[in-house]
């Protein structure tokens, strides 16, 4: 099969592109997403990449660095033996080679226990892990304008479907290409929002970022892997399924925001209630993170595990 743009052999299918044109396509798609949502205002803006050492975050670090953005890396060491220790070792070498600043914060030191220890009490460990991960990222990224994460089209399509299947209402809080600019909190951006996991893997392979790590040992237990397998089966039969899920979600989100604005002008009292429900605007008494009650989930959990 030939490349759609030249006579070379294609190395990727849908779109059919050769090595050179695939790299161009991938980087341009990332830049277009950044522009479309106004994720990064200028190249001086200090950006922190939430890096795990896995292919998504390493590819993101690589693209942003290559394109001249002002990036540094922040890694969270959850304490997963045989998995995270290996990926962090790779990340350290990668950052050294490309002269990128790297900070590593560990659960052991910051929370008191590793995920390996916590997984005995909390199963699946993913919920606890995600809470602490976001907590540490928030705590250690205050000096940056934005936190960029490697979340991709697959991740987002999974999150949308998970919300529907479990009737969760966290639709506005964590999903979407970027979080709102709320006073005191670093905005999170997802430059790979429209990029498939398969495309990221291809890019990483072509650039010799040969990352061959196993899946997180706790992941196979999670509901997410079930949803992921199911979406991948759909995508195999109908190319474009993932993009359709996410596009539909973005449209719904837009409509909902329009409606809130309409209600707002009609009835001020009611809109305040709706807004409060949609946005955690209070701050945790312990750590200052955004939360809906007095103390945030992470601080509550922290107390619980160290009791």
């Amino acid at each position: 099969m030939n490349c759609d743009k030249c006579k070379e052999n294609a190395i990727y299918q849908d779109p059919n592109l050769c090595k050179k044109h695939f790299i161009e396509y991938f980087e341009q798609k990332t830049i277009n997403t950044i522009k479309k949502f106004g994720m990064i205002k200028n190249k001086q803006e200090k950006i922190c990449v939430a890096a795990s050492g896995g292919k998504d975050s390493v590819a993101l670090l690589f693209v942003l660095h290559k394109k001249g953005f002002n990036v540094e890396a922040l890694a969270i060491d959850e304490g997963i033996k045989g998995y995270r220790d290996r990926s962090l070792e790779f990340l350290q070498e990668f950052c050294k080679k490309h002269k990128i600043n790297l900070k590593i914060k560990s659960y052991k030191k910051e929370i008191g226990k590793t995920i390996d220890q916590l997984s005995k009490k909390y199963s699946p460990a993913c919920n606890v892990c995600g809470t602490f991960r976001r907590y540490l990222l928030d705590q250690h990224s205050k000096e940056y304008k934005k936190i960029a994460t490697g979340h991709n089209l697959d991740d987002e399509a999974q999150a949308v479907m998970m919300n529907i299947l479990k009737a969760q209402t966290s639709l506005f809080a964590r999903q979407g290409p970027m979080t709102k600019d709320i006073d005191g909190f670093t905005q999170k951006i997802k430059p790979f929002y429209f990029i498939k996991e398969k495309e990221i893997m291809t890019y990483a392979f072509l650039l010799g970022l040969n990352i061959d790590f196993e899946e997180c040992p706790y992941a196979p237990l999670s509901f997410r892997s079930y949803v992921r397998d199911w979406i991948n089966k759909e995508e195999k039969e109908n190319q474009g399924t993932k993009l359709n899920i996410v596009t539909h979600y973005l449209k719904l989100r837009e409509d909902m925001q329009d409606n809130i604005q309409k209600i707002e002008t009609k009835e001020n009292k009611f809109s305040k209630v709706v807004k409060d429900a949609l946005q955690p605007i209070k701050k945790c008494h312990e750590c200052g993170s955004p939360c809906s009650g007095l103390i945030c989930k992470a601080c509550k959990l922290k107390e619980e595990i160290n009791a």
Partner: protein
Amino acid sequence: MKIIIERTKEEKELDFKGTIEELLQKLKINKEEVIVARNGALVTLDTELSSEDEIKILSVISGG
């Protein structure tokens, strides 16, 4: 033909004629979840394989 499945660290010799897409079907691997390298270079699913080829199947799924 030598086949290496990176995710499970599996290595095997296989007598197979056909394309990569057909090989993946035979191995019951979803093409959405892997990229495939023949003799070290990425190739598309319609690529016809020969018996001397070394095929590496890399999983695109990871823990982030």
